[in-house]
């Protein structure tokens, strides 16, 4: 149960980027988990030079920010601007991108699992008979901080509010003299930067392999849809719900059923309440 809460928070943190990209900007970003795994491997690379994974993750954010800006710019120029069939081709584009990243990782690193080393990995904290691995606690802490920071950013700063506004009423924003495309570009950059940190935590929590993004398509979209598109507090709660459900299924039915939990939950939400728990 406690395990579920910790993992749930982690799920929320890996989903906030998608919550911005898909929930607020309406970009069908199915390559989000692949970018996250890419972040994990970058962390792994830096880890070989003795970098702490969290430090590495933070160091990666500017790079990923630029990557995100570039991806959005490209997506905008080729699909959104032309407007024709953006849905189908945009989706195909991101799906293809996800595959390229995944296969690229396989070619460079091979299919074996990779992990990082740090003082807090492998040790556990004993707490009243429970043993809680430190790596989970670290991920939990970073996840909470990250989600809180992003929530504050979106509600307190001018750019943050502009990002929220662009999701609701683009023409109005244009009238106010702001350039929606630049705001979206910025937002997508932030979403991607956050993904780098999420990737760093992913490799802290457990070993990583190139095809890991596939399972996370389910987890991240499940959290974002369950949360109600673009809701940050919802994302945290939805992450917790998923984490706890997974740990319950894990203990009751065994590990072989666990991958289906996120996807099953996702289907149920889509079928019953597609606007999510906290949707408009």
């Amino acid at each position: 149960m406690l395990f579920g809460i910790l993992v749930g928070c982690f799920y929320a943190a890996v989903s906030v980027g998608l919550s911005v990209a898909f929930g607020l900007l309406d970009v069908p970003h199915v390559a989000h988990p692949a970018l996250m795994v890419l972040g994990s491997y970058c962390t792994y690379l830096l880890g070989r030079y003795g970098w702490d994974p969290i430090v590495a993750g933070i160091a990666l954010t500017p790079l990923f920010f630029l990557l995100g800006v570039a991806i959005y710019r490209f997506y905008y120029e080729t699909f959104e601007k032309r407007g024709s069939d953006a849905g189908v081709r945009g989706l195909a584009f991101f799906f293809g991108l996800a595959f390229i990243i995944e296969v690229g990782l396989i070619l460079v690193f091979g299919v074996d699992q990779r992990m990082v080393e740090a003082d807090y990995i492998g040790k556990s904290l004993s707490l009243g008979g429970y043993r809680i691995p430190w790596r989970l606690l670290v991920a939990f802490g970073v996840a909470l901080l990250l989600t809180a920071a992003l929530t504050l950013y979106l509600s307190r700063t001018f750019t943050g509010r502009a990002i929220k506004a662009v999701a609701q009423d683009e023409p109005a924003l244009r009238l106010m003299g702001a350039n929606p495309v630049r705001i979206k570009q910025w937002a997508f950059g932030i979403a991607t930067a956050v993904t780098a940190l999420a990737g760093a935590m992913l490799i802290v929590v457990g070993p990583v392999e190139p095809s890991l993004d596939r399972v996370y398509i389910g987890r991240t979209f499940c959290v974002v849809v369950l949360a109600g598109l673009g809701s940050m507090t919802g994302t945290l709660l939805a992450g917790l719900i998923l984490g706890v459900s997974e740990s319950i299924v894990l203990t009751l039915f065994g590990a072989s059923w666990a991958p289906a939990v996120a996807f099953g939950l996702l289907l149920v939400v889509l079928g019953i309440r597609p606007q999510g728990l906290f949707g408009r």
């Binding site: 898909f22 069908p28 849905g87 189908v88 584009f93 293809g96 390229i100 979209f221 072989s256 289907l267």
Partner: protein, 313 residues
């Protein structure tokens, strides 16, 4: 008329090749290419005509394959029955998925189809009867008397399926159903206001598309004499089935066929000469390049070059 001559010629050619003394490997590889013709054609019925992106080809394909395994193990059903049952099972799966999510925006449907792959995969992994995660070994029955080997027979079976799939897709495309689906892709609201029952039509397309994918999966266990969940629910089937119509061109039945033959052949060559990973990379890169640079696929490029006139229907 020209179309039907083409159909007859294709089937005759496939049968002729299978009875002749061509190298066995040709049939082994040809089977895979033809299988992708079916998958790409099936994908295009919903994705190309109606504009709903299905990422779940692997689920429908895998369920088709496992339906065949169950029938074979339980009652030793003949291949024809396996294929029919697989089509029904996957069609039903398509109908169910559609019912749950086709009311929503296209992206939700797409995500839901990814979910279906993983749920089906997990279910099969936990099902002992069909071998769970380790898979199941199957003993091929003898081939039909005319054929030298079982692979050759399966090659012809898949050729027939491919032709049947193309016929179905073409019928849908040129009939009122296809016009309704295209209306949905162009503007769902306007379609509904023009009397098009959009939900019913989407469900129909999703069911037919799923059924064809299932039929394509049914001969797989016999082809490999073995079946395991990891390879039959492989997401690679999904990208390929999506990439091939996108590369060939989605607006005409010929598009997926061209895409499947082109990409399928390249895949076979790359897998043999280089490696399987490069092969997936090729699919991904080609998909992105075509989606960005040639939105109407090879057919669109040909049309621009005036090689193909509008009367080609």
């Amino acid at each position: 008329m020209k179309f039907w001559i083409g159909v007859a010629a294709t089937v005759a050619l496939a049968a002729g090749l299978a009875l002749s003394g061509t190298n066995e490997y040709f049939f082994y590889a040809g089977y895979v290419v033809l299988q992708f013709v079916v998958l790409a054609t099936a994908w295009n019925i919903l994705g190309g005509y109606a504009g709903y992106v299905n990422f779940g080809t692997a689920a429908f394909f895998g369920i088709g394959a496992y339906t065949a395994v169950v029938l074979f193990k339980a009652v030793g059903a003949p291949l024809g029955v396996q294929i029919l049952a697989a089509a029904c099972a996957s069609g039903l799966l398509g109908f169910g998925t559609g019912l749950l999510t086709l009311r929503l925006r296209g992206i939700f449907f797409s995500i839901a189809t990814v979910a279906v792959i993983f749920i089906m995969h997990t279910a099969i992994v936990n099902w002992r009867y069909v071998g769970g995660a380790t898979g199941v070994q199957l003993l091929r029955p003898p081939a039909m008397p005319l054929f030298d080997s079982y692979t050759r027979m399966l090659f012809v079976v898949m050729a027939v399926l491919a032709v049947a799939g193309v016929c179905i897709a073409r019928y849908i495309e040129v009939s009122w159903i296809g016009r309704g689906l295209r209306a949905i892709r162009d503007s769902e609201e306007a379609a509904e206001c023009s009397g098009v029952p959009t939900l019913k039509l989407k469900l129909f397309a999703c069911t037919v598309s799923g059924a064809l994918m299932g039929a394509a999966g049914a001969p797989l266990p016999m082809y490999m004499s073995f079946l395991e969940p990891a390879s039959s629910f492989d997401l690679n089937y999904s990208v390929s089935a999506l990439a091939m119509p996108m590369i060939g061109g989605t607006s005409h039945w010929l598009g997926p066929v061209i895409g499947a033959i082109l990409l399928g052949s390249v895949q076979q060559i790359v897998t043999v000469t280089i490696s399987n990973e490069i092969n997936v990379l090729v699919v991904g890169v080609l998909l992105v390049v075509f989606v960005v640079a040639a939105p109407d696929g090879v057919l669109g490029l040909l049309r621009k070059l005036k090689w193909l006139h509008r009367s080609s229907r």
